[in-house]
Symmetry: C2
Subunit: 173 residues, 2 copies
């Protein structure tokens, strides 16, 4: 599938509800457990998604479209470990929904043409990247973390499925 | 985490909403595309989940608890390819929700004790398995397919993310 802005927004728009449905009415242990030392819990991931809405996707979009200096700042992948302290999962989900809705409105207002989607910024590791690649990555990044949340929760039952583990790639791959 | 019936039901109960949030208001191409020849689309997966609610989890629970013959029938992993024909994704999601709600009520009504969870059936490939393992697998199976749906949709944009693919394990693992 080629990048299409409307189709991208379809996915981006659903993510707050996907996360809310996935993480509501659960015992803490489902969303506070992780996959072992130095790995994230679903709670950490929602914090990471919040931080991305605040400092990554739109900031970089602005740099590409309007920045004099086209260099992106490095994204802090661990900021949420501090920023989420004292918050509940419900707080983070609400914060994520609010930011996401605002960011989708912002993107819609940019009236992005194919030419604008070809514009470039400079990524700290990759060098030149296009706005089209940035927005595609925003979409895939959501899906990546939804799959990760499913995997982390599944792994809490790794020892419980007995021989069926063989049929459950989420536990073994 | 050790198997716990109430905590398992928390996950099983959320799955219909997770799937609905994930797959609603999307262009067909998001849920009808797959990962290549002989792979499933999100549409096929929802059909597979429907078939599981109809013929797998509760049928096997019944065999373990009440069956004279403790042998499970082989589960047909491809039944949905016929059974979903002519249905919309909305039809399948509604069917799944109805069956899942009924099955959760059924399980709650069984008043399962630790002793009952230790009871066994005979799986066509694995031999003896316990009810606890069957119900744990029901939970992980949901999560496995939610992650798979995320991956299938993400892969539609494999060529669009440019160098970021390196940071997106969902596209490469």
């Amino acid at each position: 599938m080629k990048f299409d802005l409307n189709r991208s927004i379809e996915i981006l728009q659903n993510t707050p509800s996907v996360l809310e449905s996935f993480l509501h009415n659960l015992s803490d242990s489902w969303f506070l457990s992780n996959e072992g030392p130095d790995t994230w819990s679903p709670f950490d991931i929602v914090g990471h998604l919040v931080h991305g809405e605040q400092t990554d996707w739109m900031e970089r979009t602005n740099i590409i479209l309007f920045g004099e200096d086209k260099h992106f700042k490095k994204f802090d992948r661990f900021a949420q470990l501090e920023e989420s302290k004292g918050k509940t999962i419900g707080d983070l989900l609400t914060e994520f929904r609010t930011l996401r809705e605002k960011n989708i409105e912002f993107v819609k207002g940019l009236a992005l043409t194919e030419d604008k989607l070809d514009l470039k910024g400079i990524h700290p590791s990759f060098g030149e990247v296009t706005l089209r690649q940035l927005l595609s990555t925003w979409v895939v990044h959501d899906l990546n973390h939804i799959a990760q949340i499913a995997r982390i929760m599944a792994k809490q039952y790794s020892d419980e499925t007995g021989p069926w583990i063989e049929y459950l790639p989420i536990l073994t791959k």
